[in-house]
């Protein structure tokens, strides 16, 4: 059913029940996202797409549009919530952009620029996190993990459907684990897909890194905002 909603004061015509992040993008309004992957079930973990709907603060990836909805994206208070969440992620892990293989292709870094982050308002924790390089082709660099759950939910063993990436512990101790045996059975394209959908440099392909010159990397060619608003496939076909 065709409906009207309002985003930042502008009337937008769309279909009922579609995901707000998508509707906004088509209307030219960029809402930053980290865990949301177009065409996949909503994860709702990063909360970076926080907006106001009819005055209430919600994560836009979890909202399905309905007639008469009033959405505020470019509103100072909400924009600062989004920025704070990105800053929280930078302080929680160890994100050292200049030395990271994913720099220039990292969605967290790109979104950091979009929300105009300079330095985190939260104290940097410098956590000690164990790396896992037991599998043959994947290097799990937990320092950079933002626990978005993309790998856990969308990278599964192709024959059994079982998890390759999983979670352990809870709260701030939570971490991603990798099943080395199943990871070794991943086809080459699936390894590249896992690396591509990781929004940070936590999942890396061994033997591959710094292979694109500065200035030619993913988000340098086209910004994360333009990719979200355009037709580029953010699902990350490598």
């Amino acid at each position: 059913m065709s409906i009207q909603i309002e985003i930042d004061g502008i009337s937008v015509s769309t279909q009922e029940n579609r995901i707000l992040v998508e509707v906004a993008a088509e209307a030219g309004v960029y809402i930053p996202t980290l865990c949301y992957l177009k065409g996949k079930p909503c994860l709702g973990t990063c909360r970076v797409c926080t907006v106001k709907v009819d005055g209430a603060v919600v994560a836009a990836c979890t909202v399905r549009v309905s007639a008469g909805m009033t959405v505020e994206v470019d509103e100072p208070e909400t924009a600062d919530l989004r920025k704070a969440l990105v800053e929280l992620l930078f302080a929680e892990g160890n994100h050292n952009c200049p030395s990271c293989e994913k720099s220039g292709r990292c969605t967290l870094q790109a979104v950091g620029y979009e929300v105009d982050m300079h330095v985190s308002r939260f104290p940097y924790r410098f956590p000690v996190r164990e790396r896992d390089h037991a599998s043959e082709r994947i290097w799990l660099e937990r320092d950079r993990c933002i626990f978005c759950q993309r790998c856990v939910e969308f990278v599964r063993d192709e024959t059994t459907g079982q998890k390759i990436f999983s979670i352990s512990a809870r709260g701030t101790e939570s971490r991603i684990d990798i099943d080395a045996e199943r990871a070794n059975a991943m086809p080459a394209e699936q390894v590249r897909y896992a690396v591509e959908i990781c929004p940070v440099g936590a999942i890396l392909e061994k033997g591959v890194g710094f292979d694109v010159p500065i200035g030619h990397r993913k988000y340098e060619i086209e910004s994360v905002r333009d990719r979200a608003l355009g037709t580029t496939d953010e699902a990350g076909t490598p």
């Binding site: 973990t45 969440l85 302080a91 999983s166």
Partner: protein, 610 residues
């Protein structure tokens, strides 16, 4: 990797067979494995995984989420000391020290001989008889250094917790056993809760003589609202359950009473279990369900045998099973699902995940459980007290219930009162009762503040809020009422409550996982007297961030201890601030920065001298 098939363990196989190789029963299976080995050994995970058609890491996902599951040897006798703010007002530290002294083990550790494991745990539902602990799954209350010494001596002499707690050898499925372990707590009888023996059979037959729609209408007219805290209209939930499409509908009783300071569900399950269970039968009739689950928190494991015997009696009396209450075709039965230590599982969708054998991660909504819940089926989750009240409403009628309480908050409710008062316990109060009236009822002297609804609720000032009412239109209450007199340092409590939320965060969303830690550190900084005005401003902003952007109610309320005490007692915070003249960086904590130096110096002094 070792091929699991060559290492099949017969005991594990027995456990798996007992649970019909059903992966959704993973929590039960993990409990059985832990009971066999004292922990869940890594070496047996491949056998579990292959039998349940899950991967090893998938099993670890679940096992590592719950704090009562141990992956490493954790002592033949595992002792969990409740570390609530109320325990700390009643001699907790002396008991803590005595446990370490008598067992020779430090908290968080296990002795090399594997005899004792000492752990702290959040509220175990015994706030009116703290300090309290769980030992070998059994509760010990009103602890002192002397009783601790006696208990540990008996353990060393070869006894187990159950023997020490029950020297008379009372049967574990009887009420006498439970009353011997923990004090009954209830201080009132009726009009709604803890009434004398109710004719459950007659009541159910009257109910079944009408249509399900009539039952729902009665519950709706009574104005019954969920007692868990949110106050969702019960009649509406049941109607949605009735209308939801699906052949396999579920009724779940949320007995995961984890809010610090509350213990009324323990009292209900102990002294009015059939009111609760019959409420589930009535709900099943109303929505058209055949399956019921009681999700019982692990802290109440000592109630399990007793509740099983109650279920057995109901089956014997034809109130569970098939053709219930003499109505041909009405079939419904209830099983008990044990939890394993997680506050967030009190959230209904997290509770359902746990029932399915998963981590207790709250789901995204919609869909709501009443549409898609347990195993994707329409699921009606209600609190223990809600079911008990529903039974009484069906017995006495909607008008009777409505005649009590206020217009928006019909009836009565139970409150678990503890802290600084002479008569702590479980009281039934009319909704609309004022805070002052509650304080008088429990004989609280010199009360300064009252934490209503536990840490997730709000802190009230007795001076300013004494005439406010416990009712949905004023102060909503989930049953927890904790009183602090004017000798207490509220900031100590705020720090502990904030730590509680950080510890219990499931970790799935950023603001709650990361923000609660920063919030706790900020509160501690201010509490310790090292905070400046900027820290206070930060804390307010960060609290609002966690509240507004978190995925579920845990994060949404995690900042409440800070935000509500600040609103009511701003002077407490202001008086604690320090002014650092000429400080370039107020957030620099010199003590923390030099802490390592102290350790190095200490090590240097002691090295070689021992």
């Amino acid at each position: 990797m070792i091929d699991g098939s060559t290492w099949l363990n017969a005991d594990i196989e027995t456990v798996l067979r007992r649970h019909r190789y059903d992966g959704t029963r993973l929590i039960d299976i993990l409990w059985d494995v832990q009971n066999l080995f004292g922990h869940i050994p890594d070496e047996h995970l491949p056998q579990l995984a292959s039998a349940l058609d899950r991967s090893v890491p998938d099993i670890v996902e679940t096992a590592s989420f719950y704090h009562f599951f141990h992956s490493k040897p954790s002592g033949r006798h595992r002792i969990y000391l409740s570390n609530t703010v109320i325990a700390k007002m009643n001699g907790y530290q002396a008991v803590y020290d005595a446990l370490e002294r008598e067992t020779g083990v430090r908290f968080g550790e296990t002795d090399p001989g594997g005899m004792f494991g000492l752990f702290e745990t959040p509220c175990i539902g015994l706030s009116d008889q703290e300090p309290a602990m769980l030992l070998d799954g059994v509760a010990f209350t009103r602890l002192t250094p002397d009783t601790v010494a006696d208990i540990v001596a008996q353990l060393k002499a070869g006894k187990v917790g159950a023997d020490i707690a029950n020297p008379a050898g009372l049967p574990r499925d009887g009420i006498a056993y439970i009353d011997n372990l923990v004090e009954p707590s209830m201080r009132t009888r009726g009009p709604v809760f803890f009434c004398d023996e109710v004719d459950h059979r007659g009541l159910l037959e009257r109910c079944l003589a009408g249509t399900p729609a009539q039952t729902i209408a009665t519950i709706t007219e009574a104005g019954l609202r969920g007692f868990g805290g949110a106050g969702f209209p019960t009649g509406l939930k049941w109607r949605l359950g009735r209308e939801a499409s699906g052949d396999d509908k579920y009724v779940i009783c949320n007995a995961d009473e984890g809010e610090p300071g509350t213990f009324k569900d323990r009292a209900l399950l102990t002294h009015s279990p059939k009111d609760v269970l019959l409420g589930m039968v009535i709900a099943a009739y109303a929505i058209g369900s055949r399956h019921g689950i009681v999700y019982l928190r692990a802290e109440y494991a000592y109630l399990e045998s007793y509740l099983e015997s109650q279920l057995q009696e109901l089956r014997r009396d034809g109130l569970l099973g098939s053709d219930i209450g003499g109505l041909p075709g009405f079939a419904f039965d209830i099983r008990i699902q044990m939890g394993a230590g997680s506050y967030v599982c009190g959230e209904e969708s997290a509770l359902i995940e746990s029932c399915e054998g998963n981590r207790g991660t709250p789901r995204l909504k919609p869909p709501y459980p009443i549409q898609q819940g347990y195993l994707g089926n329409p699921t009606c989750v209600n609190n223990v007290e809600t079911f008990a009240a529903a039974t009484r409403v069906m017995a006495e009628g909607a008008e009777w219930f409505r005649s009590m309480g206020t217009s928006d908050s019909a009836g009565t409710r139970l409150v678990s009162v503890a802290g600084d008062c002479r008569r702590p316990g479980v009281y039934e109060v009319q909704r609309g009762i004022t805070l002052d009236e509650v304080l008088e009822m429990v004989d609280a002297q010199n009360a300064q503040a009252v934490q209503v609804s536990g840490p997730s609720g709000e802190c009230l000032s007795v001076q300013r809020d004494g005439r406010r009412r416990i009712a949905y239109e004023d102060i909503p209450c989930n049953g927890s009422v904790t009183i602090f007199d004017n000798t207490r340092d509220l900031l100590d409590c705020v720090k502990d409550y904030t730590k509680f939320f950080a510890d219990e965060s499931c970790g799935i969303c950023v603001p709650c996982r990361a923000g609660t830690i920063d919030l706790h550190d900020k509160v501690e900084r201010i509490r310790a007297g090292n905070g400046v005005q900027q820290d206070l401003d930060d804390a307010a902003g960060w609290g609002a961030l966690v509240r507004d952007t978190s995925r579920c109610g845990l994060g949404a309320t995690a900042a409440n201890p800070l935000l509500t005490t600040w609103e009511k007692f701003p002077e407490l915070y202001r008086d604690r601030l320090c002014t650092q003249e000429y400080a370039l960086l107020p957030s620099f904590d010199a003590d923390a920065a030099l802490a390592e130096y102290g350790k190095v110096e200490n090590k240097f002094e002691t090295d070689g001298t021992k």
